[in-house]
Subunit: 361 residues, 3 copies
């Protein structure tokens, strides 16, 4: 009997036999934080394609394919001239729609369709610049932003980390509970005898959610200070198409933590994660803030280390060969959603679909 | 309407869709300056093939394929013994024709055809060592040297620079006028309102020439000193098969500058340019000399930077996709000559072929 | 006439035209010295496959394929827990047979066939840890160890060196006499007029041996001290399947030197050589020991340099193209044995096969 079967529709034998990255261009992806895009063009990659980001005179972002149509030099090597992007080689100038508006030296009209750069739809929302994965498309939906805006009592911290791994390996790592006691030994969990709790997995045509029921308040001073009355831990892990990983904790009434990771496929083997941490705590935030980024960066560094080792090993052996168990709650589900979306087959709604899995933490 | 058509026979759609380097072995190429080849063997590459250069006892250059026929070790790791090249591994010895004359330890005769190294014709002329691109051929023409010998009043300065680019991208860069105001901003041109001049393009079965008519004397003190009477600028750009790029300027009667770039394809993605600058100026040359190399090296560094970025981007996008205009005077012409020569089809003479193109400088 | 024919069954034209490494998994290979394997897992490669070595609680070595069956992370990143190898990612634990004995967090039974790691037979003998090249096999022969145990009067020195070369190029280099006067100029031979001696080549279905007859005592003080009476040099070079190279010298009655190189194919282009030097000399060993390792390392460095240059050049030219002579005594023989074994065709015994070749040393 394969432990993975109760929660996965895909038997282990059907799992991918080579490290393939899915290709899901029909979605919004975060390319940078708003504050990263200033007076200079910025190069970012999406699905292996170099893109150049810049702002026009009104500060609106534009995203073009990072290749001058003239001699194919990256436009990101150029500079901004009156809200236009000017190529470093011959000075051709483009607006945020990719239109070529000037060809220095040419005595005839500059504009001509063949001279235009390729553009992608771009919007700025919740402090991120988002791009649509397909060129020349005007999407009729906005980006899947989870920003809390200015809800009173909440703070927000952001960080960009690049992992040498596919999106699906990165998402699985972000939402996986059992690894924390080993890879992050000493930072999370551990230090007491394991307790059996219950994970409830539910899914929709574009998301997977795991709720953990019965998780006790962690031992130690910090948790006592946060929730002196003891209280109950509420813990959700969520995946949302195409590549959002979210972890949410509540401890008592006064403590709320939500980490949202927007994953952007740089290329087939690298993933950028823009993490946004919203939190409200009983104790003053200025006491907590100085520790959040250093601890998060330590955790990210450990995850980056193991994901890189995993990716290299998968390549070395010619493909993924994963033996899953019942407590691998989310990886196979994520893979299933991605693969079906790639094939144009979004799953049907399954209102009653629900699995309960016991696990020890 | 495609601006490129008036001067190019090749429509944009027919331009190469992947970065391919032409292969033209039936020509002379510069491998090194004479002064670079002394008492040690020297390794140079041509079309991706390693060659070893050395001198015999009389100082005559020899060029062999850089692979010992015995165990395939590079002969360039060896040393010279009485005008023979001795392999570093087992001591086999070769003359400049590639003949194996000694096999240490062997009690029978050393010479045998299978033990000979492969040789290329080599000549020394105008301070360069030239090689014929095909092995085992005795060419009946000499190298296309433009050395001025000892013409009174002229000085000569040389420099070798390696570009991460194909020969045709390197040649186009060397002979392109419009990029100078942008890539070399502050070093050439610019600083005044553009003036419309005329470019006259002519071509032969093995060359292309562009004459610029109406180019004014540059502004600034230097030009005033060089030519106090004002005078006229005469400016030619030339390409000669297989890979010579030449720029010639005259300012008044007393100032003459000719830069000849002999381009040698190292491999499909790198080109060595041996540039030879001949000049005669009104002011004393010792005043000028100290500035020529530093300024030239700055220009070369900027060109190398943009050519490398162009090459990498072309690779990343899977091939060249160039949108040309009327003022791309020479690139498509050079490509046409190279491609036809590669296919064994030298163009017919076209005595009356001539195009006039207006451009702003 | 091809000089190579008298001793080689394989004509030059049939020699490999591309650098191919043979694949001979059905043999024992040295992975490390016993003393290298302590309290931490150790990663070593064999034929391009990463293996992890560790010891159980009783100190017995285990060798597993270095990939956790769960999420494919290298097990060598983990640590030892009570003689089990614990994966760094999720803490799965394996014994030396590869059995998965624990899946942390899982509430059901851990053991299941799909969760086992792949194991290779491993033995410790003569101070080395040996592995069988095929997984899941219990060999009925032991490793081809040449350890002298505790024979009185002998000392032993060991060293591991990695060469950027195939096994057959490494073995040929180790057993080749003519290169020593050139590549190791000044360290061996040379310094006098060459003398003609005789090489006697014999072979069995799994070995090749060359005996050198008539080699004089080397000139110089050292040889005089070692063997004041003059004496005779006895010199054998031997190859034993799959990849053992052995050189044995005797000078007079009191001096005996035997260098055994166990070659392990790391991957198609790299070979680890575990060399074991057994020696008995007339002069006190404490006088000699300080010089053995430095001189050996100098020789290895020169060999590594030329083998790397050879390998790169073979790759650059698309394959080996070797012109052999009569004094290339062993290379073609080694290649013949390896290729036949790879094809499952061990040569028939040839009791009378013997060749005599004159050579100068």
């Amino acid at each position: 009997m394969n432990d993975a079967l109760p929660i996965a529709d895909i038997p282990a034998a059907a799992l991918p036999v080579s490290r393939q990255a899915v290709w899901l261009p029909g979605y919004w992806y975060v390319l940078c934080e708003s504050k990263e895009l200033r007076r200079r063009p910025l190069q970012r990659m999406l699905y292996g394609k170099p893109l150049v980001l810049f702002r026009d005179d009104l500060g609106r972002p534009g995203v073009l394919v990072d290749r001058c149509p003239h001699r194919n030099v990256p436009l990101s090597l150029g500079r901004l001239e009156s809200g236009r992007l000017q190529c470093a080689y011959h000075g051709w100038e483009f607006d945020t729609q990719g239109r070529c508006l000037r060809v220095p030296g040419l005595c005839t009209e500059a504009e001509e369709r063949a001279r235009n750069a390729i553009s992608h739809a771009a919007v700025e929302e919740d402090g991120f610049v988002w791009v649509w994965g397909e060129p020349d498309v005007t999407p009729d939906v906005g980006p899947p932003s989870f920003g809390m805006g200015d809800i009173q009592g909440y703070d927000n911290i952001r960080q960009r980390v690049v992992f040498d791994a596919t999106v699906h390996a990165t998402v699985e790592n972000a939402l996986d509970v059992p690894h924390t006691a080993f890879l992050h030994r000493g930072l999370f969990r551990g230090g007491r005898d394991p307790i059996e709790i219950k994970a409830i997995v539910t899914r929709s045509p574009s998301s997977v959610q795991v709720e953990f029921v019965g998780e006790p308040r962690p031992p130690g001073l910090v948790a006592r200070i946060l929730s002196p009355s003891g209280g109950v831990v509420t813990h959700f892990d969520r995946f949302l198409m195409p590549s959002v990983a979210q972890v949410e904790y509540r401890l008592g009434d006064e403590n709320h933590l939500r980490i949202t990771g927007y994953c952007t496929p740089i290329d087939a083997t690298r993933t950028a994660v823009f993490s946004s941490v919203d939190f409200k705590l009983r104790i003053p935030h200025w006491l907590v803030r100085p520790f959040v980024v250093p601890i998060a960066m330590r955790v990210f560094a450990q995850d980056a280390w193991v994901l890189k080792a995993q990716s290299e090993n998968v390549d070395r052996f010619g493909g993924e060969q994963f033996a899953s168990t019942a407590i691998d709650l989310i990886g196979a589900q994520v893979w299933r959603l991605m693969r079906r979306a790639e094939q144009g087959l979004l799953p049907e709604p399954e209102p009653d679909w629900c699995r309960e899995v016991p696990l020890q933490v």
